[in-house]
Amino acid sequence: MIALGVKKRVPIHSSTLFYFLGGMALFLFVLQVVTGALLSLYYKPSPDQAFESVQAIMTEVKFGWLIRSVHSWGANLIIGVLFLHVLTTYMMRAYRRPREFTWITGVLLLGLFMALGFSGYLLPWNELSFFATRVGTALAGKVPVVGAELLLVARGGENVTGDTLSRFYALHVAIFPLVALALMGFHLYLVQKHGMSTPERLPRGPGWYYGLPVLAAVGAVFPFCFANGLALLGVSLWKLLLVASALLLVWLYLGQESRPAVSHPATRVGAPKYDGPSMSFLPDFLLRDAVGWYLALGILAALAALFPWGLGEKASPLSPAPEGIQPEWYFLFMFQFLKQLPGHVLGEWLEGETAGVFFFGFVGLVVLLVPFLDWGDRSRRLLNVLAAPAVVFFIVMTAWGWFPDDPHLSVILGTSLLLGMLLLAVPFLERGQTARVGLWILFALGVLFLLGVIADRRWGLGTGHSLTERLVLWLGPR
């Protein structure tokens, strides 16, 4: 094993940082298993005892609060890392032959971890988790033909009851982890077998200061153009989504039209061997990985100590759903989207929710089959046409779902995440590329916009027609 690790090489380039995401996810998984095992020593999976057992863990068991908070925060972190891992793998086109099944197992693992998160969410048996599970599992019933049976399988009955809790507990502690272990084992075997992928273009390094003059010029007129001009349009959030996607697409395609990037001949598709700069897996890569793991541990400890995971009120199945019920953040985009759908689409024959389920199912299938849909530059560009709006959709819907009643905060969150996504693209663009200039222009616009919204929330920008009012007008009725 050690010899294998020493022999294995990891390419070094501007996107090398993304290689650490997989190891981070693995580390977080191990942490989840350890903390989960400790929690299971005290947790009791029955409606009468679940909530009380979690409360006892938080208040009476020594360091129970730490283990539980680390487990809960870790669950959110691992899914965030997995999202980034899948996205960066897509951006690096690391699913190309012969790594198709590495991609497929990776996407399946993402889905499995989301299912682990969903099943674990119910276990404290509090109000939020009970009603969120009820809403989430109800979607299974929307699948045509087999919906009713699926619902019974998901809930263990007609309604969310103690049977659902036992079922979810079994799934969460036994079935899903075993499947995850098997999938992860296969995934890691494939990674070892095929080695690390390299992106096709290898830019020399970041030139982030390139866009600064442009930033200064645009910044002077941005607040007036954006706030006044766009307020007159009176368009809906859907159109905001499309405008943002269109902007992203334009610069993506400008990037494709740029000068050919410095490209190592050995990195062309199908090239048998990479002979650029690289480091050994053991000890170089693993040591750097370990730095990340320690930092992650520190972050988790800080989150657990400073922001302990709440418990809320015990679920009362006979009570009406309290206000503000929403799922965990990684399901928010689906939840928020389904809320916007009308009762029926395409006439009266298809329910809105069923159409939504179909839509997400189709998107999942496309994501799974990406390696087989990308057979060249043209098909890759078509995939990018879908991918860019998908990322924007995910971020906008998540931000909106998180703060449904506060346009300021949802816009601040969404814009910050979008800017983060823009930064992710930097390693893939070369200094001098038009797309890179475009990226920095977008980034500058975004930062100014963000500052404007923050300033408006804090101080307001004048009576009568504040930026937020203009923004809300522009977004249109929700």
């Binding site: 039209e257 170089d284 040591l287 370990a290 730095v291 930092l295 009308p342 560009r381 078509l382």
Partner: protein
Amino acid sequence: MRTLLTSLVVTALLTAATLVVAAPEEGKAPPPPADTKATPAKALAVTLLPEDYSCTFCHADPQTFSGDTKHLLVTAKDLAGDVHWQKGLRCHDCHGGHAKLDEHVDHRADSTYRGPRSPGEIPGLCGRCHSSIEYMRRYNPSPRTDQESEYWTSGHGLRLKTAPDDKDVATCTSCHGHHGIQAANDLQSRVYPTRLAETCAACHADPERMKGRTYHEKPLGHNQYADWKKSVHAQALLKNGDLSAPTCNDCHGNHGAVPPEVDSVANACGTCHVKVATLFAQTVMKHRFEQADWEGLPGCAACHSNHEIRHPSDPMLGMGGEAFCSRCHGEGKGKYPDALAGKTAEGMSKELEKLQRQIAAAEQSLDDAEHLGMLVRDPRFRLRKARDALTNARSLVHGFSLGPMKQAVDEGLEVAVSVEQDGQKQFDEYAYRRIWLAVSLVPILIAVGLLLLYIRSLPVAGR
């Protein structure tokens, strides 16, 4: 260039597709609800009487009765929902006379006709059936049949006895109506709890009707309804829908309606407020309110008022500006200056204040701990005991004795202090966690530092 054009076309197509999906469904009215069951109007529709029914020949004809005699017109709409009609009774069952048109005799000459001709005849007309157990048993296995006898003891009845032709005195039909009478438990009924006060107010809030009216030589006034509407009872009944909250008949009686007498004010309140009424009955205050020279409102009403009963508040107790006690017991004020009573009132007020402050402090402590993310469910649950103690202490005020009240307050204080300490413990726990976080981060950062140093010491990666 071609690629750029392709991308723009695709973007435009996506835009169009999304607009179609996102467009609201305008101009589309929802389908009307399926009419699967009879509406209330249909269920209560009055079936037409036969054409040869004598009463409707005149009394259903709007051309016969209009203007001054319009009140004699009886239409199907009037009878819709009428409980008598639904039970199968018809005009002649109450009014007598001859049902068949061929047998009709002029009312004025008909000895079998039961009008009524004057207000004084109305109770007897209704009582003809409603006072007969044998008759009422057909419709109700356990009927009340004392309404008429109760009525003659009421303020209304007593007045009607002396003035049978006084049209302003309430009789059965004043409250229940004459045609279209609904059962008392019908939501639409004029005597349903949420509507009863309005029915009483039709007369009792009318200044012209109440002018000169007295009871036991005291003017009746006309502000009772307006006062009651501001009360906590009206709030509970009308806004919160609590049907157990009292309205006029709960204190004054139904058919035997009279203002509660001096002694029975506390008894009226005590039908619901049992504990405080029992405490109050054992005190000297109750008896003071019964004495002949007492000029204020009697019993509980002396402090709480009779109709405009507001939510009691702690400032009502004590010797402060808003306090009721100081009206009689203050130095130099009122007719009954009593230093001991003043000290008792002041003492009770201070005790309540002390407990409230402690409960507020405990709550604040728990809120602050919860804000930090600490779990405080159990202490919050225990704090309810302190609030119960506060409620108990407030009830014990009506015993007008400091000792028992102080005991209740002390019980509450014990709980509230312990809860506040629990809240403080959560702060300490949070601080402890922060300290140990800082401590645990040290080895982590040391490990990270050492790793980075070791990495730097290795041969440069990439060669």
